[in-house]
């Protein structure tokens, strides 16, 4: 049996990352991976790096990391709504300004994908989708035949992604799997402050995914964000679990479940 801990976007939430890593240490896993977007949204972006390093977490490059490393003008989330762009810009400028040059350079060295062979199953880890670092794979807009196409093209049996911020798992009829591992950076628009990571288990070729909620000191994170003068809209999300900004990319079902 092989068990992996898969972390989605961290968004500078060092407190949730620390809690998740402690939880993972208790579970005992064969390896821990982070699928990218280390910075964004939260406070003190440099704080997650030593935690990842000390725990031996293997990281991928997300779109945010790619932007920071390359000195791009934005986070490549593709917003067109002026309000979404306003908040995305605040977050990106803050994160860009507070991430050390050494960390930016390191982000640029991270791979876009990792391929693992576990008990005969070909597992592909990437950030958005196998074909685009910033493609959103939402549950309600990723039909089975499209996921099968992505798996075929990528020559994978199990595909694990993040980037959207909301976890889901689809077992295809042919025995292949796609898992969006969720994110540790912020709650997933469900009205609770919990954040999530994923335990992926392959046991005699059988694949299962368990989503693990992480209870952490979100009030302390909110206080950190307040001290850094990050927008009250972001802090509200951390405290309430409802997304308040960057909503335009949500499909109908995911949007309808939220408050805003």
């Amino acid at each position: 049996m092989t068990r992996l801990a898969l972390l989605g976007g961290l968004y500078s939430n060092d407190r949730a990352l620390a809690a998740a890593l402690a939880d993972i240490a208790r579970h005992g896993v064969d390896a821990t991976y982070c699928l990218g977007d280390l910075g964004a949204f939260g406070p003190h972006p440099d704080r997650v790096y030593p935690l990842l390093h000390d725990a031996g977490v293997l990281c991928l490059q997300g779109n945010y990391d790619n932007s920071l490393a390359g000195g791009l003008a934005d986070c490549q989330c593709g917003y067109t709504d002026p309000r979404d762009n306003h908040f995305a810009r605040i977050s990106y400028r803050y994160t860009f300004g507070r991430t050390s040059d050494a960390h930016k350079a390191w982000l640029g060295t991270l791979p876009f994908e990792r391929r693992l062979e576990i008990e005969g199953r070909r597992v592909l880890l990437c950030h958005g989708s196998p074909r685009k670092i910033n493609e959103f794979l939402w549950e309600s807009t990723s039909p089975d035949q499209f996921l099968a196409y992505l798996l075929d093209t990528a020559a994978a049996d199990v595909l694990c992604v993040t980037h959207t911020g909301i976890k889901w798992h689809r077992a295809l009829a042919d025995g292949r799997h796609v898992v969006n591992v969720g994110v540790l950076g912020r709650p997933e628009n469900d009205g609770t402050p919990a954040v999530w990571y994923t335990l992926l288990t392959v046991d005699r070729g059988r694949v299962s995914a368990e989503f693990v909620p992480v209870a952490y000191d979100y009030r302390a994170l909110a206080a950190d964000m307040d001290a850094e003068r990050l927008p009250v809209e972001f802090i509200e999300t951390i405290l309430t679990g409802w997304w308040t900004t960057c909503l335009e990319v949500l499909p109908h079902k995911e949007r309808a479940r939220g408050r805003f």
Partner: protein
């Protein structure tokens, strides 16, 4: 045909478009890119059998999303059943003027949305946030009926996506979007979702603004360091009652008909129309998220301030 027009292959059929009501519409907007209207019979309705066949073929090709367009899709009486077929295999979107969405249709749409694990998006067109401005483009009485549809859909949690063709100067962008959001809230849409589309130099829009025609066509040089996945011809096809076209914008162009079936239409298309410049410029303009989905290898942009 220009010998140098770059040819774009169909990389993957992400988006299946179904021109379910042909070019038949209950109104005739001043900027309509395919000149639809009450008496426009360039294209006719799709039959349920043809739609079933197209959805089946597209599903076999791994389709990601299915779009229903026209004309006005709700003029086709079989639309709800067609949506049900689509939603069984993929997320679906309807592009409508909203005028035919009464309580009965809205109930049906809400039922279809709830029954599917995939999203149903209802895109309602508006072009002004005052009755005078909107109806000058879309026709008398359209504003009130469209807002009534938005309210009916909103009450049922369908969160309609209001699409607006940009017909204002850049400096009025924020005020205009605020105006739309305010009017939608007043109409009962508490969570307005707005998508702005560019005006396209095609059909009636081109007839009224011939000066908007771009000076040139898409060249190979323009495609260097450009993410070709943004072009609809690389990821979409449109099924009409007269065959399969390369993209929704070019249904009036004879060369853009690529075959009678999706399989036949799986061949490269040479970018030889002025509308291709719009698609190159804006990228994935017809999808629901007008995001520029650039990959990491695209041209580096300026550093943040």
């Amino acid at each position: 045909m220009s010998p140098s027009a770059p040819a774009i292959p169909l990389v993957h059929l992400d988006h299946l478009w179904l021109q379910v009501s042909g070019t038949r519409c209950n109104i005739a907007c001043a900027h309509c890119f395919n000149s639809s209207g009450p008496d426009v019979r360039t294209f006719g309705h799709l039959t349920p059998a043809l739609v079933d066949e197209a959805i089946g073929a597209a599903a076999g090709r791994g389709v990601r999303e299915i779009f229903f367009t026209g004309g006005e899709p709700f003029l086709n009486p079989h639309l709800p059943g067609m949506l049900e077929t689509a939603l069984a295999v993929a997320p679906a979107t309807v592009l409508t003027n909203g005028m035919l969405i009464g309580d009965r249709i809205a109930d049906r749409l809400a039922g279809l949305a709830a029954a599917s694990r995939y999203s149903l998006e209802i895109r309602v067109s508006l072009d002004g946030y005052t009755e005078a401005a909107n109806d000058a483009i879309r026709g008398a009485g359209v504003f009130r009926q469209a807002l009534a549809a938005v309210a009916r859909l909103s009450r049922r949690g369908l969160l309609p996506l209001v699409t607006i063709v940009r017909t204002w100067p850049d400096e009025e962008e924020l005020a205009t979007l605020d105006g739309f959001a305010r009017v939608l809230r007043e109409a009962g849409d508490e969570r307005p979702r707005i998508k702005v589309l560019p005006a396209l130099p095609l059909g009636r829009e081109l007839a009224r603004h011939p000066e908007a025609l771009p000076g040139g066509l898409v060249t190979d040089a323009m495609l260097e360091d450009f993410d070709r996945d943004l072009l609809m011809c690389s990821n979409s096809r449109v099924v009409t009652d007269r065959g399969v076209w390369v993209c929704p914008l070019l249904v009036d162009a004879a060369d853009a008909r690529l075959g009678s079936t999706l399989d036949e239409a799986d061949r490269p298309y040479a970018l030889q129309h002025h509308a291709c410049v719009s698609c190159w410029h804006y990228g994935t303009i017809c999808g629901n998220v007008s995001a520029q989905i650039d990959g990491p290898d695209t041209a580096r942009r300026e550093r943040p301030a």
